[in-house]
């Protein structure tokens, strides 16, 4: 248990809310709250994953055909980009935890944001825009004429819905990171108060985990070996 006497003498009590007895209680509550929110996100994405699993079972050849329309190099690159961003996020939190300067914290945060923006940039420019030109965007630009007409369209629906929802979460994450940069610049984070950083980190890592599953499920389980790769 935290030493209560130390807590009351701790500098920077800003951010300490009136309904709590100790900073530790507040920190605990914040963390539990974020984990509960992530649980809701698991079920939120989970609805789409459930649907995907069911349709994959029922329409496997069509889904494999559809999966081969995606380019693995972009998916893999994006996976790597997100993993890097998780590392930089973790380092940013750690910097605050051990009391590094606010410049250090901000450095890692900005790096995370750049990587996140790169992810979205690659998605938009090299994947979705290309898909639009190729005519494999259901509902908006659909001129696909290969095998399994309806099944491939179903697959592409899933592709865009799932990666779209994921990208939306990334954008929200970028917004949160911006707020964190501003807070860090104002010197709000110290070794005894970095809760917003930590819980935002949890959110960011969660978004990374969703992509860790989306990448193989959408890009890789497509029997690529039969076509010798793409």
């Amino acid at each position: 248990m935290a030493d209560a006497a130390v807590e009351t003498h701790a500098p920077n009590p800003s951010g300490f809310a009136h309904q709590y007895e100790t900073l530790e209680q507040q920190h605990d509550a914040g963390r539990l709250g974020m984990w509960l929110f992530l649980a809701t996100e698991i079920l939120f994405f989970g609805g789409m994953f459930t649907s995907y699993i069911i349709y994959r079972e029922l329409h496997l050849p069509a889904f494999e055909t559809g999966s081969r329309l995606l380019e693995v190099r972009f998916g893999a690159t994006n996976t790597a980009v997100l993993i890097c961003s998780s590392l930089t996020m973790a380092l940013s939190i750690r910097s605050a935890q051990v009391g590094k300067s606010k410049g250090t914290i901000i450095f890692w945060l900005i790096l995370t944001m750049i990587l996140g923006a790169a992810f979205i940039g690659i998605k938009l420019r090299f994947e979705w825009y290309h898909d639009w030109l190729e005519g494999i965007v259901p509902g908006l630009s659909w001129t696909y004429s290969g095998p399994y007409q309806s099944g491939v369209q179903m697959f592409m629906c899933f592709y865009f819905f799932m990666t779209g929802l994921h990208a939306l979460h990334m954008v929200v994450g970028l917004g949160i990171l911006t707020v964190l940069v501003v807070m860090a610049a104002r010197g709000r984070f110290t070794p005894h108060y970095f809760t917003p950083l930590e819980i935002s980190g949890l959110y960011w890592h969660f978004v990374d985990i969703v992509w860790i599953f989306l990448f193989p499920l959408l890009y890789l389980i497509g029997g690529r070996y039969t076509l010798g790769g793409h």
């Binding site: 809310a17 009136h18 309904q19 709590y20 007895e21 209680q25 605990d28 509550a29 539990l32 709250g33 509960l36 929110f37 649980a39 809701t40 996100e41 079920l43 939120f44 994405f45 989970g46 609805g47 789409m48 459930t50 649907s51 069911i54 349709y55 029922l58 329409h59 069509a62 259901p138 509902g139 908006l140 659909w142 309806s150 099944g151 369209q153 179903m154 629906c157 899933f158 819905f161």
Partner: protein
């Protein structure tokens, strides 16, 4: 209980600072972080939504006075029952007890100053109001006619009504409930007063905790489902579209994965209220505390594995139907445990019949009836006959109105003195409770018979031979409507003219009764230390003054 003698040593409420008069002006209410004020904000909003849903019900029952439809075309009737269902389920029942009584009472009952995340609490109210406004817009700009269940392909392809707006409104309101549930779980885990161990918590808290689990795990699924439905409607292609291999039943699976636990969101808090009212008005410790506590959790958990019983006749595989049917029988058990425990609490209690108790007793009877009729529906064979008929309508109204709404009213009456510092006239309150009870049974009991005889639900017209029962039901509905208006009148009257309540007008146990009525903004002068169990009523019953 209308003549409470004010404690002469107490400072009169008007001159004592409490959460109501601590600050004035609309900004102090719209920007409040006080859970008690937020509870009242919700109370107002939810009452408005209840009126909207109630008006739709009145119009429906008026139409059903005649076999060929007395009032409206079938297309309009479709919009009426959809409005009634959507508004009552998503915008009244789901938030009702949690957002009003839960927000108000939980911190008081656990000895905390506020919830864990007050700003999130206020934000959840604003999100809820946004959902309500969007829903109202959807209704006045054409309405929805898909039923509150939104089944595709009608809702995704063929409906010409405001499906997207309504779905978005529910999506938004869903986030409000997620935040509320999240707030409650963290509050109950992290902010209990010293000495308030889990097994000293009032059972209302256990019920709210179980409800919050459902909020957190279930609501996101309806959110993503409605999102997918909306996308399909906008893009004219989507994952429920049969022409590309989509399965409309998938929507039903996802929809009911939330909506079945949702009905337990609607009843669990009510059961929590009853667990408070019965001991208080029997002046007796609850029988089997831990059984009641664990049954709340059991209901929350089992509620997630029974959803297929809504799909027995829509094309679900028989084998899945077998699984869901067996599991559905299981969920009745913890509910029955509660009913037995409440009844055992009443036995040899010192019972008094104030309005909250009348609501509680009504709950026990009506909920039991509703629950028992659920067994007919859980059983595959009988459900084939009863599904899609008025039997189902009667079943769920017995639980949701005879159960949840009665519990809600009972709770409002019980905690009204705490919330406002005033007492309402108990004679009028008892009268209203009886009117509601009579009106309710007159409305819905004939519907069991109608359903058994085969009258389908969601139909604007019906065969001639059903008219007598329909007229009876509509007559009951008008009595019920009057019954709902009466409390509105005397509760508002009591705000100005009701006698002062004092801290504990019911002489009940619980931390919320140990602080003044209305409480100060920070709830307690000093953090209470708890050294006793809940419901520690004195065992000597004879001659205890009910004051």
């Amino acid at each position: 209980m209308s003549t409470a003698t004010a404690n002469l040593q107490e400072i009169p409420a008007e001159s004592r600072v409490n959460y109501l008069n601590a600050s004035y002006g609309i900004r102090s209410w719209l920007l409040t972080l006080d859970h008690k004020r937020i509870g009242l904000l919700y109370l107002g909003t939810i009452t408005l939504m209840f009126v909207i849903g109630g008006v739709a019900a009145v119009l429906m029952r008026l139409n059903l006075m005649e076999p060929q439809g007395a009032l409206m075309e079938p297309e309009t009737y479709n919009k009426m029952f959809s409005t009634h269902g959507i508004v009552m389920v998503f915008f009244f029942l789901v938030p009702s007890i949690p957002a009003t009584l839960g927000n108000f009472c939980i911190p008081l009952m656990i000895g905390a100053r506020d919830v864990a995340f007050p700003k999130l609490n206020l934000m959840s109210w604003y999100i809820f109001v946004t959902g309500c406004l969007l829903m109202t817009y959807a209704l006045i700009s054409g309405g929805v006619d898909t039923g509150w269940t939104f089944y595709p392909p009608y809702s995704s392809i063929y409906a010409h009504t405001n499906v997207v707006a309504a779905a978005l409104a529910i999506f938004i309101a869903g986030f409000s409930s997620i935040l509320t549930g999240l707030n409650f779980v963290v509050t109950i885990h992290k902010m209990r007063a010293p000495g308030m161990t889990w097994f000293r918590l009032p059972l209302f808290i256990w019920a709210m905790y179980a409800t919050s689990i459902i909020f957190i795990l279930g609501t996101p699924v309806i959110a993503v489902t409605l999102l997918l439905l909306g996308l399909e409607r906008i893009l004219h292609v989507g994952i429920f579209d049969p022409s590309i291999g989509g399965d409309p039943l998938l929507f039903q699976h996802l929809f009911w994965f939330y909506s079945h636990p949702a009905v337990y969101i609607m009843i669990l808090p009510g059961m929590g209220v009853i667990s408070e009212l019965i001991p208080a008005f029997s002046r007796k410790k609850i029988f089997g505390y831990s059984f009641v506590a664990f049954s709340s959790l059991a209901i929350a958990i089992i509620s997630f594995i029974v959803w297929g019983h809504h799909m027995f006749v829509t094309g679900q595989s028989i084998y899945a139907g077998l699984v869901f049917s067996s599991l559905s029988f299981l969920v009745a058990i913890p509910s029955a445990v509660k009913v037995f425990n409440w009844t055992a609490t009443l036995y040899k209690g010192s019972i008094s019949y104030q309005a909250p108790m009348l609501y509680a007793l009504g709950f026990i009877g009506l909920f039991t009836m509703g629950g028992l009729t659920g067994l007919f529906l859980a059983s595959l064979a009988t459900d084939v006959h009863l599904n899609g008929t008025y039997f189902i309508v009667a079943h769920f109204h017995y639980i949701m109105v005879g159960g949840a709404v009665m519990a809600y009213l009972g709770g409002i009456h019980y905690w009204w003195p705490k919330m406002t510092g005033r007492l309402y006239p108990d004679l009028w309150a008892r009268f209203a409770a009886l009117v509601i009870f009579v009106g309710f049974n007159l409305t819905f009991f004939p519907q069991f018979v109608l359903g058994y005889l085969g009258m389908p639900r969601r139909y604007a017209v019906y065969p001639q031979e059903f008219q007598a029962l329909n007229v009876m039901s509509s007559a009951g509905a008008s009595v019920l409507a009057v019954g709902y208006v009466i409390p509105l009148v005397y509760l508002i009257w009591s705000l100005k003219y009701g006698p002062e309540a004092g801290p504990n007008p019911w002489k009940a146990t619980g931390l919320e009764w140990k602080t003044p009525s209305p409480p100060p903004t920070e709830n307690f002068e000093e953090v209470p230390i708890v050294t006793y169990d809940a419901y520690e009523y004195p065992t000597v019953r004879a001659g205890v003054a009910r004051g």
